[in-house]
Subunit: 163 residues, 3 copies
């Protein structure tokens, strides 16, 4: 194979992989809501690495995939699901660096309130992801309510001005 | 052409097609809201196959693309549009299997209510899609309000634990 | 290199570029919210071309990237940020034509109101983008509240029935 042909193929393969990574990360994030709203504990756990964490800033930090999956047993979560709710993840901003990636995006919890739905949570999320032999997994997720605090903006600021 | 070169090209072409399929399905879903909010009957009909259906679970099932398009004539829909509304489709989870695909995602209808907008509908959607000579089309869409019912969760559960 | 090989490589490269363009445009749009919610004036300015405009239809038009960035100094915006808010951009519909592109999609501003968030703005957005040596930039963004007006629907109608 000629040098230039080899080089064109390698470039195509590298560029394609980056797009596949982006698609896989979007797919992972898009599967969180359906898993949460069906209390699919094992599915949620399976999105995280073994030692992965989920920090709901100011409320609790779940450490390890089993603990993250078990969050669906929370009384608050159970109440949401019984009333009717949607955990919606918006299209994220994604930065991939080899086998690590950071996705940042908003989420809302729409919870039924009579004939309508109320926005019970409006948050920013930072997803720290790692590539594993089984695909991308969450090493850490930080969820922060957009409550006007400096720390909520700090989470988002890392997107627009990485350290 | 050498065997290995042919094989690398075919792999690239196959992987690229999968990403193009994902992009086309996202584009189709992203065009539903603008079509609904402008009462573009023909455009909505054109997203479905000839015999495609749209089931608004618990309310009505529209059978055939013409019937699906005609839903914009509903009094409820017309009222939404006159008041001001956004039919917003969230980033979906997508599984492609050859010439068939399933996209699952949330949608909200934000309807104007004085100076603000109210979440009039918060739903889960299952889009069953088929590849046609003219591109991806909707064979069936199921829209279920997240109303706390077991059936609303059933629709989402198919994402996280396919039958 | 044989004719057919050259042609297959060129086709792959062209198709890949289109997907990369779509990803880059989604990334640009996904970075607007975090920039707005952190009052990152320079970051917002950097998304626009030097002479780019941002028209908040019926309210104001900001001309030139510096003026667009400075919108975060508005009293209304500052109040949103202090109270806690999310500027959320939904997955857009994207049409690319060489070095120009149009992305159309919904946005919401969720603003904190006591224990919940209120939908203070539900808008349609038309992003007119150009490819520059530094990547895609916004030449013009039109944001129109979905207020029931014909002009709000006009903005969306361009998606479903381009002129």
């Amino acid at each position: 194979m000629s040098q230039s042909l080899e080089s064109r193929l390698e470039t195509l393969e590298r560029r394609l992989l980056e797009l596949e990574d982006r698609a896989a990360i979007m797919q992972l994030i898009a599967s969180y809501g359906p898993a949460a709203d069906t209390c699919s504990q094992g599915v949620i756990a399976g999105l995280w690495t073994d030692n992965g964490i989920y920090s709901v800033v100011g409320t609790a930090t779940y450490e390890g995939k089993a603990a993250v999956g078990a969050l669906v047993e929370n009384a608050t979560h159970q109440d949401y699901v019984r009333r009717g709710c949607s955990h919606v993840m918006a299209m994220p901003h994604i930065v991939i660096d080899g086998d690590r990636a950071v996705a940042t995006g908003y989420s809302q919890v729409f919870a039924r309130d009579g004939d309508y739905w109320r926005v019970d949570r409006a948050s920013a999320n930072r997803w720290e992801l790692v590539r594993t032999p089984d695909g991308w997994r969450v090493a850490a997720r930080y969820n922060h309510l957009m409550d006007g605090s400096e720390s909520s903006r700090g989470l988002l600021r890392q997107v627009v001005a990485p350290a």
